[in-house]
Structures are given as C-alpha cells and as structure tokens.
Subunit: 194 residues, 2 copies
C-alpha cells in the first residue's frame, strides 16, 4: 500500500452514492507535504518522458500540478471552466460534463500557452467517468501537441474513465485506484499495483 | 523595483479598461519558480506572525497559497465559489461579487477546516475592489479565527480595495501595487515600496 492509499484509509470518508470525501487533505484543505510527495511520485512514474508543460483543470488539480511541474522544471497551465473577460478570443475550447456537479462546462485554454512543440503531462485529482480528462486531451490534440501522459491522484476503478483512457493508448498513472467502497462500514478497497 | 514588478513590466500586457493581463506567468500559465519566490517573500513579510492556515479562493490564488504554506509548514484551505454536492451542509458562506466576471458567487468553506484557534494568512493573486478578500475575512471572522494578515500578488492601487482593508486595520502586503496603466503605450506605474 502506498502513501496515498494509506492516507485515504486514514482520513478519507466514504459516503452513500460512491462518494469518497478527501476534502481534509486533497481538494478543499490541502496537505502541502502530501502534494509534494505526489509530485515526486509522478516524476518518478513519468521519468524518461519529455515534458514541456503540465496541464490541469481548475481548481483542485492545481496544487498537485504545481508540485509535479516543480519536479520537471516546467510551467503549469490550468484550463478554466468558464469564459472570463480577461481571456483573449484565441482559445482552445472543449465541452466537459462534471460527474460531481452534474452540469456541462466549457473548458478553455488560451492558444498562447499550448503549441505543436509541447509535450504535455495532464494532471488531475480525480478520475471517474473521465469527461474532464477527455476534454483536456481534446485540447492538447487541438493544439497539435503531444500527450506525454496522464497522472491522477485517485481513480474510481469501478467507473469507466480509466479504462477508456488506457484503451485509447495513453500512458495513465493513478496513484490510488479504488475498486470498491462501502458507506455502511467505511471500507475502501484498492486495486493492487506493482 | 522588485522581482514581481520587473516580471509585470516584462511579460504583463495592458488592455483597455484597466485590465492587466498576467496570464503568461501568474493566472493561466504559471511560472512555478516565480510562485516559490512570491511564497518566500510573503514568508519574509509576515515573519514573526503565528500562522496556522493559509486561506485562498479558487482558482488562481491556489498556486501562490501552496508556496506560502510550504514556507510556513501549514495546510492550505481554498474557498469554493459554488456549492458542490461533495461539500457537507456545515459550511461558512459569504456573498462575493467578482470584478472580473461581473457576477455574484457564494464563497464557501467547510466548518471542519477553520476553528477559533486558527491564525489565518489570506492569500490571493489580485486585489481590485476587494470583494473577494472581504468575503474571505468574513469567513475567518465567522469561524472566530484570527486574520494573521493578507498577502496579495498584484494590487490595483487606483481601486478602493486595498485602502478599505488597511483602514479596517488589517496587515495587508501587496508585492506589486499598480498606480496607473496606459493601454495606449503599454506602460505600468508602480507605487514605491520601502
């Protein structure tokens, strides 16, 4: 069991409806030492890949993305979920449906910050049905850039997202893959990793 | 002139309507070395203050907040702008109007992550009319916690926000205070700092 799986067992809370609350350390309150440990682990798992940018989506992916980017010595670009008046007209746009919020968002990245030369490592905190990741992949492809890989903190292995991304041939690394959760007794079962 | 003022002059873009675009290094693409330099500068400016939590608001304050929190060895809590089904009922809520987006948002922090014992350093990327900061201060006060200080990357000194916060007696540190901008010739004038 790795450090993130241990932390989930210690501080995660299982709720009805396959909701895993990790808001005390990952996506509302954030343990910075844990972010840095995840950053180093992703650096290790994607060692040997050329990475020129880390791409994430606001808001809870940003902290992890910063720790990963520090290791690689590259900038972070975060996709925005709604059109801002401070964003230029020249943007990549993808349509994304949120599993959590049950709504559709336009995901936006300025064309200034992704080019055909870029090798992009996509980072996010959660992967469930994978719509957010598909939107980010779509944006990287629109730019003519290359997806160097995808790094996720917690994958819900009982939902389709991870399998779809792997079937498409992308290198996806999830630090913790939840196979099952039980709200009645609070247990979490992880997929064994090598 | 400090490192952030120099960076603004080099890479910031002045647009009509007193818009300063810093999206190439601060709030869309992010230079992680710059984030860390800002984090260290805030640590220096708030040295001697007891800080138990860093509080920011999604999304563009998160990266700076993480760098500050690393220096202080404390967690980051980021306020959320819309109600999520993954947040418990027990929340602090403040009403905030966005200068950028021209709309009102509820700003939300779970009661689990702020208590009367907390000494809170509030961090954000921009200060203009100050509504976001006022919302965060309101949330800290609702928790019975103490505002240890407020750290801002870029303050628009020609708008009222900074003066209001200082008049209220809070310790506000802005790394760059823009006194004037000229979209015609692209110049930016900073308030001199000691």
């Amino acid at each position: 069991m790795n450090f993130l799986e241990e932390r989930i067992l210690r501080d995660g809370i299982v709720k009805e409806g396959n909701v895993l609350k990790v808001d005390s350390f990952l996506n509302h309150q954030m343990d910075i030492a844990l972010m840095d440990q995840m950053g180093e682990e992703f650096c290790h798992r994607f060692a040997g890949k050329k990475v020129t940018k880390v791409l994430t989506i606001e808001a809870s992916g940003i902290a992890i993305a910063c720790s990963v980017a520090r290791c690689f010595g590259v900038p972070v670009v975060f996709a925005k979920k709604s059109k801002s008046i401070n964003i230029d007209g020249d943007m990549y746009v993808a349509e994304v449906e949120s599993f959590t919020h049950k709504n559709k968002n336009q995901v936006i990245v300025s064309k200034k910050f992704l080019s055909a030369d870029d090798q992009v490592l996509i980072i996010d905190d959660f992967l469930a049905n994978g719509c957010a990741l598909q939107g980010l992949i779509s944006i990287v492809e629109s730019a003519g850039a290359t997806v160097a890989g995808l790094g996720i903190a917690i994958e819900k292995g009982f939902q389709i997202g991870g399998q779809v991304i792997r079937n498409l041939g992308y290198h996806l690394e999830s630090l913790a893959i939840v196979e099952a959760m039980n709200a009645a007794d609070g247990t979490v079962t992880f997929r064994p990793q090598a």
